[in-house]
């Protein structure tokens, strides 16, 4: 199995080739897009250059940064809150059967209430405020994180917990050194999916009742069918995520997975 994944520390040279391996599919996509857009010659499928142009002028005008900043702030805050609460809830439910039984129905319910509904209700009951917006997003996201972490907590190796118990590890050590490492895969998938999902929910929430942010902007663009600008704003956010992946998530994951060999 020579193809198998082995996240060893890559040499600088390998790092270069790795970056390239990651980049060319994107470039290919860009090229494809360009060719198709040129062929189609439709306003609903702008060329990448047109999108870049829109991106650039939005950047130059400062508008993009302002709205993106607002959105990122909301995303960051909601993300932290939702992860914290969701992870806690998920572990609790995965570990203790009683809690699982008691909260399962509520979790399923929370999971399946449309974002539209929670958002509207939050806005109505708590006003068209920033905290109502954050609350709406967090409520939407918590069940997803909890569902994921619950499965993780259920799959934790009982043998290793026995070691922790017999050697009387403190709660914090038990959690951070025995429990958590087994949940990393679940945490990473939750974090990645979570960021993406929260960004999408923030868009809806901004669309419905905020006066700034990318969602608000996209709403206006959408009204006039300005696909170019919509794509520009979407890509700006995607670029932030790419940075986050390359600078934080991927290195962290590689580090934490070193022991897998």
């Amino acid at each position: 199995m020579p193809e198998e994944l082995s996240p060893q520390a890559a040499s600088p040279l390998a790092a270069g080739s790795e970056r390239w391996a990651r980049l060319w599919p994107l470039l290919l996509l860009l090229l494809l897009w360009h060719v198709v857009a040129l062929q189609a010659h439709s306003r609903t499928l702008p060329t990448p250059l047109a999108v870049l142009d829109a991106l650039w002028s939005a950047l130059a005008s400062g508008e993009l940064l302002f709205h993106l900043g607002k959105t990122l702030l909301r995303v960051a805050l909601s993300f932290c809150l939702a992860m914290l609460l969701g992870v806690g809830l998920g572990i609790l439910m995965g570990r203790y059967r009683r809690w699982d039984r008691a909260l399962d129905s509520l979790l399923i319910l929370g999971l399946n209430i449309p974002a539209l509904v929670t958002t509207i209700l939050c806005y109505i009951w708590f006003g068209l405020s920033e905290s109502a917006a954050i609350l709406a997003v967090v409520i939407n996201k918590i069940p997803m994180v909890a569902i994921n972490l619950r499965e993780g907590a259920r799959a934790v190796d009982a043998n290793l917990l026995e070691v922790a118990q017999v050697y009387r590890l403190s709660y914090s050590e038990r959690f951070f050194k025995v429990y958590l490492p087994q949940l990393y895969p679940y945490l990473f998938s939750s974090a990645r999916n979570g960021l993406a999902l929260i960004w999408k929910i923030v868009l809806v929430v901004e669309l419905l009742g905020r006066s700034d942010g990318v969602g608000f902007q996209i709403g206006s663009f959408f009204h006039f069918f300005d696909i170019t600008s919509i794509l520009a704003y979407s890509l700006a956010f995607a670029a932030v995520i790419f940075l986050l992946e390359a600078l934080l998530l991927r290195p962290l994951e590689n580090r934490l997975n070193r022991w897998r060999l």
Partner: protein, 311 residues
């Protein structure tokens, strides 16, 4: 065009346009003109523009700003007047706000986004009349129309600028208009009603199916005429309107009737053009795109209302 021509109209299921279509269907106004009318119900305003561009429907209702903007981008849509009714600024009946100048420091809820045309006109009006930049002097917040109405009713915004039929509901619930659009327009030097929303379709499609479209517009006119005079017709429509009380019902009926364009003033096009210029100045590129002036052909040349008598 042949007698069995079919026309697909995309409308909000419970939107005001659907009332008129319902009248058309109930009285076979389209059929008797040899037109097969197919109503495609949709769930949101944006859905109708998507449907039009996706080729799923032939005609929707939108405004001429949208049309001009699309034309500037090379998508030749055209417009035929459908209604003159646009929103007002609504405040609580006992509110201390007496004039636009009093909005200073107050929160004002605006439907849709910052490029809502009434909002832009109000901005221009405030600046011309009071030298006030209302965008920064007041606290504008933007929300979807139904949400905005709830916020207005529960007092979470001091004033609301919504679409007319939502205003009607507010009025029925004890709010009063602070300023109506004609007044705003008058303040800006346009003292006659102008058509604001209309039937929107692709220009090339319209030219190829001129006959079909004309029959449809004629049917629309006949339905409007019926709705203008017959109260019984409105009683029939009542379930579709989903009014919770009679006051709302009456407000809606009157609002609709007031918006019916019966004739066109000789200087209407010029007025529209000057309103467009005002909008372009206030809204900027974001609103009008690359076009600085009303695009030639925005108003479809195949349809004309009778000219209004000079008053």
């Amino acid at each position: 065009a042949d007698a069995a021509a079919t026309l697909r109209v995309g409308v909000l299921q419970f939107g005001t346009v659907n009332w008129e279509l319902d009248v058309m269907q109930a009285h076979q106004l389209a059929q008797k003109r040899g037109l097969n009318l197919k109503v495609v119900p949709l769930a949101s305003g944006d859905a109708s523009t998507v449907a039009l561009q996706g080729g799923a429907v032939d005609v929707i209702v939108s405004d001429w700003i949208w049309v001009t903007r699309q034309r500037a981008e090379g998508m030749a849509y055209s417009f035929a007047p459908y209604s003159n009714a646009v929103g007002s600024v609504m405040v609580k009946a006992d509110s201390g706000i007496r004039s636009v100048a009093d909005l200073r420091g107050k929160s004002i809820g605006i439907n849709g986004g910052p490029y809502d045309k009434t909002w832009l006109l109000l901005r221009a009006y405030a600046s011309k009349k009071f030298g006030m930049d209302i965008n920064s002097a007041a606290r504008p917040v933007f929300a979807a129309p139904p949400l905005l109405n709830e916020l207005a009713l529960s007092g979470q915004v001091d004033a609301a600028l919504n679409v007319w039929h939502f205003d009607a509901r507010l009025e029925a619930n004890g709010q009063r208009p602070l300023i109506k659009l004609p007044e705003i327009l008058a303040g800006l030097g346009v003292d006659r009603p102008i058509p604001l929303v209309g039937w929107v379709f692709r220009e090339d499609w319209a030219n190829q199916n001129r006959d079909t479209l004309e029959r449809f517009l004629a049917a629309s006119q006949e339905a409007k005429a019926l709705m203008a005079k017959s109260d019984a017709e409105w009683e029939r429509l009542k379930p579709l309107m989903r009014t919770e009380d009679n006051a709302t019902f009456v407000a809606l009926r009157n609002g609709y009737r007031n918006g019916i364009p019966t004739c066109e003033y000789a200087d209407a096009q010029a007025n529209v053009a000057s309103v467009f210029r005002i909008l372009a100045e206030t809204g900027g590129d974001r609103l009008v795109g690359k076009s600085r002036s009303l695009s030639e052909g925005t108003f479809w040349n195949g349809f004309k209302l009778p000219t209004c008598p000079k008053n």
